[in-house]
Amino acid sequence: MSDELKKKILEYIREEYLEDDSMELKDDTPLISSGIVDSFSMVSLKMYLEEELGIKMTDEEASTEAFDSVNSILVLVRKKLAEKK
């Protein structure tokens, strides 16, 4: 589940944000601080995760820090999934 989830998130980010297929994207690539994901469109990533996983994140939880890499997103998402159970 975890690997699959990571793959899904990476795929979404690649499709939604990268202009160029040659750009490298790893689990720890900074997303917001590097400008790959601009703060205006971070919301679509949040909405995607909420819909895909049936979770709800508050604006405080979905901070720019929490969304700054696939790894940090996974930490938040796993916490929300555990709360759901």
Binding site: E19, D38, F40, S41, S44
Partner: protein, 404 residues
């Protein structure tokens, strides 16, 4: 004193970081009026030299046009230097009103309202028109002033890939059920690439999803489109773009001043609630008077924009034939691509020594690995100016191994 040595040190360190990142803005002094042939002191302290300017937003060559400066002088003599007031106290002359009407008419809109700059216009508009029930969908390459304006507003926001209508449609689909009003926000011409936003397709999507469209046409008003009315005219959608923001600081004389043109309710709301409008001085009389003359000039004939179009095409063809890599397009903004930041800057520096004033742009102004020199043509350039520029590009390009 609160400006302690520690604070000074902190700021100096920040500036050092800016410099180390290659982002420090080194201003070149121009010791003449703005135009095609200018006198530049660079590096600082060196003997000023005569060069040809290929990096101004002086698209129609009106910055120092005799008719325009004469009109400014007339405005100065008859209506004074400044208004010493915001518009709603005692800063509105009849001429402000005349200019707003003329610009609205020129852009085919119900009404228009003047700001100190287009930055102010863009900073004002979103907060006044939209709130958390609404969604703003912006192109990812819009101008910094639109981004700041959107930040000042409580509306929900999302962005789409540059000029990518497929991506925009996905966003419209996603947001449609979640919004009271949706507004698509784009530049008409993207200033770093010189490409046009596909406004015809954007207008189709806007109709389909019931969205408004706002276009910042600062790099287009006066010369894009058959009669220079801008990007909406180019795409035949003048009546389908709701709001246009633009500037008097580029093609239309190049001094300063911004404009919002659109439905009357929009301009009235801005007059009553637009903070940069309410709390900054009225545009001064010499600029108003000159801008009225500029609107005459661009309305009477298409001579200047036609010449600019010819100049841009001629430059593109010659540079292409010489083997340079250009971002294809039809605007007078012609990016010559070098990829490497150092190479772009070396080219620009050597070109200045050859009498051609251009600037290299690199990350983060443009994407990493896409460094370039942005050449901007003007209607004031003559064929021989362009030939000289191309010859200089070829000479320096060969020297630096860019072309063979």
């Amino acid at each position: 004193m609160a400006y302690s040595n520690a604070v000074r040190e902190q700021f100096r360190n920040t500036l050092k970081e800016v410099e180390e990142a290659g982002l420090y803005k080194d201003e070149r002094y121009i010791c003449s009026e703005q135009g095609v042939e200018i006198v530049v002191e660079y590096p600082r302290g060196s003997k000023p030299i005569k060069v040809l300017n290929f990096c101004a937003n002086n698209y129609l060559g009106l910055s120092s046009h005799p008719d325009v400066t004469a009109a400014a002088r007339k405005g100065l003599e008859e209506r004074g230097y400044g208004m010493s007031s915001v518009r709603f106290i005692c800063g509105t002359q009849d001429l402000h009103n005349s200019l707003e009407k003329r610009i609205a008419e020129y852009l085919g809109k119900e009404d228009a309202i003047l700001f100190s700059s287009c930055f102010d216009a863009n900073a004002a508009i979103f907060e006044v028109l939209f709130d958390e029930k609404d969604v703003l969908l912006n192109d990812r390459l819009i101008h910094a002033s639109l981004i700041d304006g959107i930040r000042l507003c409580s509306a929900q926001r999302d962005s789409y890939k540059n000029a990518d209508v497929g991506h925009l449609e996905k966003k419209l689909e996603m947001w449609k059920p979640r919004a009271r009003n949706i507004c698509i926000v784009t530049d008409g011409v993207f200033s770093m690439d010189g490409i046009l936003a596909p406004l015809d397709k954007i207008a189709d999507l806007a109709d389909r999803y019931g969205a408004m469209v706002l276009v910042d046409d600062s790099h287009a008003t006066g010369f894009i489109g058959k009669t220079g009315r801008g990007t909406p005219e180019h795409f035949g959608v003048m009546d389908r773009i709701d709001i246009i923001t633009t500037t008097l600081g580029k093609a239309l004389g190049g001094a300063s001043g911004g404009v919002v043109a659109g439905p009357r309710e929009v301009t009235e709301m801005l007059r009553n609630r637009g903070r940069p409008y309410l709390f900054s001085n009225a545009v001064p009389p010499p600029i108003i008077s000159a801008a009225l003359r500029v609107i005459d000039l661009v309305s009477e004939t298409t001579k200047l924009r036609d010449k600019l179009e010819w100049n841009a095409r001629y430059f593109r063809e010659k540079m292409d034939a010489a083997g340079f890599r250009l971002v294809p397009g039809e605007t007078p903004i012609v990016p010559v691509m070098f990829g490497d930041a150092k190479l772009a800057n070396d080219m620009a520096r050597e070109l200045l020594q050859e009498g051609i004033y251009v600037i290299g742009f690199s990350h983060p102004v443009v994407p990493m690995g896409k460094a370039r020199i942005r050449v901007q043509l003007s209607a004031a350039h003559e064929k021989e100016h362009i030939d000289k520029a191309v010859d200089a590009f070829v000479k320096v390009g060969k020297k630096l191994g860019v072309i063979r």
